[in-house]
């Protein structure tokens, strides 16, 4: 700063800079800022756990309080990533336990977390406060019991969407009676019953509890008990929302809900029956987020709810909402920012559900603040996409999933190239895009030309040739994650844009036309990138397959810690043969 600006003062300035992007920028300014910044960085986000090693993280950031790690590629959510792929958190926990005794937060997504890891976490970090396991697997209720028993200052235990081996429902009882710091508990993913008395007792002694998401096994008639214990709740997820119609049960539930003046977010509603839905009406006017995507309730009932939610910002729902419900949404919820419509029966080609592209168009035209869309439907047209693009240039996330692969514009039978082209052209701040339907290389030309802020792109059954992939890789400057399945993209596009791969977090290609030879070449030439090929059906000679053979699954990601060593036998890192590969 021209003259002597003391280090601790600069550190104080940095303490007001919290976003990862800004911290990264600060660290690249000059030597002294790099040094100061690394000593005062408290929070780190690692989007790919194999991009860097624990040792490197620890060496650079000696004093972290919060770590977020992601493991498996996103396509794991669609069962495309084989079991045993990797993403083990244990090695990280081991090293963190030594280096960061004061670590407070661990947030993991799509990682394999064992009971051993949970036990180690529970015993190593004296100030541990936040554990979020999103879409994780590998642990059981024993691991949870260890967390409950040992983490005296725990504030958040969030198991969203994880797969847990449920050995016992009594793990909750391991929270000692003296434990009162809980602020957030999400056990919605658990299939079996948890001890209700332990749950009730826990809720009763947690005055700071703001988030409580129950699992399906908690019956409706127990909800009022819990709500009475925690009227300060802001986010609440019910269990199975069905019971025989009994006035006493209904009225106590309605009363309990009405006492919750802070409630803004509702979810759960498994097996919901219409008769108990009005119990939530008193809460609706304050609701900002509603997740009905596990609920079978039909359009009229859904409509009755959402028309009472003028402050709704986020809605997750099944296609039971139908176009009629979406029209009502468009009229009632002018603050809507995010909409996700999931398919009730994805594997059925002809559905009775009357949800079409019109519903989406209504919402896009009616809700001026809409930024994020995830929409499953069975038909789409270019004209609908034009309407959406013109109405909502402020879209940042647009994920359209037309259920039947390669479905063309249902009105004109043309490809949907121009429709999606309009989306990328008008929505200049679009950072995430998923395509579907019948698409040629033309759509990728548009994406390459206009998708300048695009960070994540998902493709399936699209394109004609390597040119398509080439347009994307050469045009989308900010592209970070690209995931492709069943597209005719091959070697030329990949090798021709090899350098691009070092600027991206990851590339996934399955059932495409990439050859072993190309992968080998890529692996040999690209020092800071791991080229992993997977073949579950025929992996015995994976490392000696002929160059012309096509790769079943390919995962390419940039890394500073070299090839990983925890792969199952059906995954092989290409181009690593010469251990003397130095660049």
């Amino acid at each position: 700063m021209g003259f002597s600006f003391p280090e601790d003062l600069l550190e104080h300035v940095f303490s007001f800079i919290t976003s990862d992007k800004d911290r990264n920028a600060v660290s690249l300014v000059c030597k002294s800022w790099y040094e100061i910044e690394r000593w005062c960085r408290r929070r780190v986000f690692i989007g790919n756990c194999y991009a860097v090693s624990p040792g490197i993280v620890i060496r650079r950031f000696p004093d972290l309080k919060s770590v977020e790690l992601k493991g498996k590629p996103h396509f794991a959510d669609f069962n495309l990533v084989p079991d045993g792929w990797g993403g083990y958190v244990y090695p990280w926990i081991v090293e963190f336990s030594r280096a960061y005794p004061w670590l407070e937060e661990i947030k993991l997504k799509r990682m394999v977390v064992t009971d051993e890891s949970l036990e180690l976490i529970s015993k190593s970090f004296k100030s541990f406060k936040v554990l979020v396991l999103s879409s994780c697997e590998g642990f059981s209720t024993d691991g949870l019991a260890a967390i409950a028993a040992n983490c005296r200052n725990l504030k958040v235990l969030d198991l969203r969407e994880s797969e847990v081996e449920e050995l016992s429902g009594h793990w909750l009882s391991h929270f000692p009676d003296s434990f009162t710091t809980l602020e957030s508990l999400n056990i919605a993913c658990l299939g079996s019953e948890v001890s209700f008395s332990a749950l009730e007792h826990l809720v009763a002694r947690s005055p700071n509890l703001k988030t409580l998401r129950l699992n399906r096994a908690v019956p409706l008639d127990k909800l009022s008990t819990l709500l009475h214990r925690a009227p300060q709740l802001v986010e609440f997820g019910t269990g199975a929302y069905s019971a025989e119609t009994r006035p006493s049960v209904y009225s106590s539930l309605a009363e309990a809900f009405s006492h919750c003046k802070e409630l803004k977010d509702l979810s759960g509603f498994w097996d919901a029956v219409p008769s108990y839905l009005p119990a939530i009406y008193p809460v609706c006017s304050r609701l900002t987020s509603l997740n009905l995507s596990y609920s079978p309730i039909q359009s009229p009932d859904i409509t009755k709810i959402i028309t009472q939610c003028p402050n709704l910002q986020r809605l997750l729902v099944l296609d039971y909402i139908e176009d009629a419900g979406l029209n009502a949404l468009a009229m009632s919820c002018k603050n809507l920012q995010e909409l996700r419509v999931f398919p009730s029966e994805p594997y059925v080609m002809n559905s009775n559900v009357s949800l079409t592209e019109q519903g989406l168009v209504s919402v896009c035209e009616g809700c001026p603040k809409l930024q994020s869309v995830l929409y499953f439907c069975r038909q789409m047209s270019n004209s609908a996409l034009f309407s959406i693009a013109r109405a909502r240039p402020n879209l940042t996330c647009f994920r359209l999933c037309i259920i039947e692969p390669q479905a063309p514009d249902y009105l004109t039978f043309e490809p949907l190239d121009s429709g999606f082209g309009a989306i990328v052209e008008h929505c200049k701040d679009l950072t995430r895009l998923s395509l579907s339907g019948f698409l040629t290389d033309r759509v990728f030309e548009y994406i390459g030309a206009h998708g300048k802020k695009l960070k994540m792109l998902s493709l399936a059954f699209a394109g004609d040739s390597d040119l398509g992939l080439h347009h994307v890789l050469s045009g989308c400057e900010r592209l970070s994650k690209l995931e492709i399945r069943d597209c005719p993209f091959g070697d030329k596009a990949l090798l021709g844009n090899a350098a691009k791969l070092e600027t991206m977090r990851s590339l996934w290609m399955s059932s495409c036309s990439v050859s072993f030879g190309a992968c080998k070449l890529l692996g040999e030439k690209m020092g800071r990138v791991n080229v992993e090929v997977m073949d579950e059906s025929d992996y015995l000679e994976l490392d000696s397959k002929s160059d012309g053979c096509l790769v079943e699954k390919l995962y390419v990601y940039r890394t500073v810690s070299g090839p990983r060593d925890d792969m199952p036998p059906f995954i092989y890192t290409m181009g690593q043969d010469s251990a003397y590969r130095l660049n």
Partner: protein, 343 residues
């Protein structure tokens, strides 16, 4: 300590680093903890000759701004809105002045002003690229390409690659010694090359099982008269970009090949080599000084690399296998059938 008489206002004398003095209303000056302490502990500030010497960073213009701040805020009864509005106007300064004000406030320990100005600086940094930040604050662009691309630096932490680097470095040293000795024998002046020493941490070096690395730092007994002292000590140079290692290794590999064929005179060299730091890898007793040496040494190198790599691999943390998850079955015709409805 000045006593406030109703008809007389009290002043405190302050001296800025340029030597000039000024008197400031007591209640305003005492708003600064540092001045307050000075007055109470040392009794200074009551007259011009005993003015309180302000810290280096509180120049006259900076003092002016700070006093404006103190003068405004020490008055009771101002609304939050008024205070906020004043603050916003105060920090509308160019970068340099804002930095100076932050620094000055810090040395006077005026916390609220430090926070206000620090936040303002933080806002000037947010959203900018490193280049833009450098430009705004006139900072040097002194991170090397290697350091910016941290990857290169970090890459050598892969034990296998570190292992190789070490072996190559050692071999390079040895060949250099031999060449020097050779030149020495031929009475040719040897350029004292500045050795690029590695800056590996102690941990790295100890990673070697049965390593003789400790002996590296003990230096070499010069055996031949007038022999240039070999730089055997492991000098740790700070901030040595490890990227250079890789370039190095690439270069010296060629060096190795070209020197392969050079014959060396046995006796003096063997003496030098004996006093050279032996390692677990190269035992001087193994040396046979004829033309087949280098390939043999190379072979041994290769063998030992493999051996160490194997040993290293056995030290890797064991993979913890997770339990399997779900079924593999999926209808390939459906592009994306969601498994979860994650929030």
């Amino acid at each position: 300590m000045a006593i406030v008489k109703p008809e007389m206002k009290s002043f405190i004398w302050l001296e800025t680093p340029d030597g000039s003095t000024q008197q400031v209303e007591e209640e305003v000056a005492m708003f600064c903890p540092m001045i307050c302490r000075e007055v109470l502990q040392t009794g200074m500030g009551s007259s011009k000759n005993y003015a309180i010497k302000l810290p280096q960073r509180v120049t006259t213009p900076v003092l002016g701004l700070i006093l404006d701040y103190c003068r405004f805020h020490q008055v009771q009864g101002r609304s939050n809105k008024e205070r906020k509005s004043f603050d916003e106007k105060l920090i509308r300064l160019d970068t340099k002045k804002l930095c100076e004000l932050t620094s000055g406030a810090d040395s006077l320990q005026l916390r609220p002003l430090v926070d206000l100005t620090s936040r303002a600086l933080a806002r000037m940094i947010e959203g900018k690229t490193p280049e833009e930040i450098r430009h705004t604050f006139h900072l040097p662009d002194d991170l090397t390409e290697e350091e910016k691309l941290e990857p290169l630096r970090i890459r050598t932490n892969d034990p296998r690659i570190r292992l190789l680097n070490r072996l190559y470095a050692r071999k390079r040293k040895e060949l250099k010694i031999r060449e020097k000795a050779k030149c020495m024998l031929e009475n040719v002046e040897v350029e004292e090359e500045h050795e690029h020493v590695d800056d590996r941490s102690v941990d790295d070096l100890l990673l070697f099982i049965n390593s003789g690395d400790e002996k590296d730092s003990k230096g070499v007994k010069s055996s031949a008269s007038g022999a240039p002292k070999n730089k055997k000590k492991n000098r740790r140079r700070k901030d040595h970009p490890k990227g250079l290692h890789i370039i190095e290794n690439g270069n010296h590999k060629k060096e190795t090949d070209s020197l392969c064929s050079s014959a060396s005179s046995p006796s003096k060299i063997s003496k030098l080599l004996e006093s050279d730091s032996p390692t677990a890898i190269m035992h001087s007793s193994d040396f046979d000084f004829d033309d087949e040496l280098d390939p043999a040494m190379k072979e041994q190198l290769d063998r030992e690399v493999e051996d160490f790599a194997r040993r290293l691999n056995s030290v890797w943390p064991k993979r913890v296998s997770g339990t399997g998850m779900g079924s593999l079955g999926h209808d390939r015709r459906i592009a994306f059938a969601p498994l979860s409805r994650s929030s």
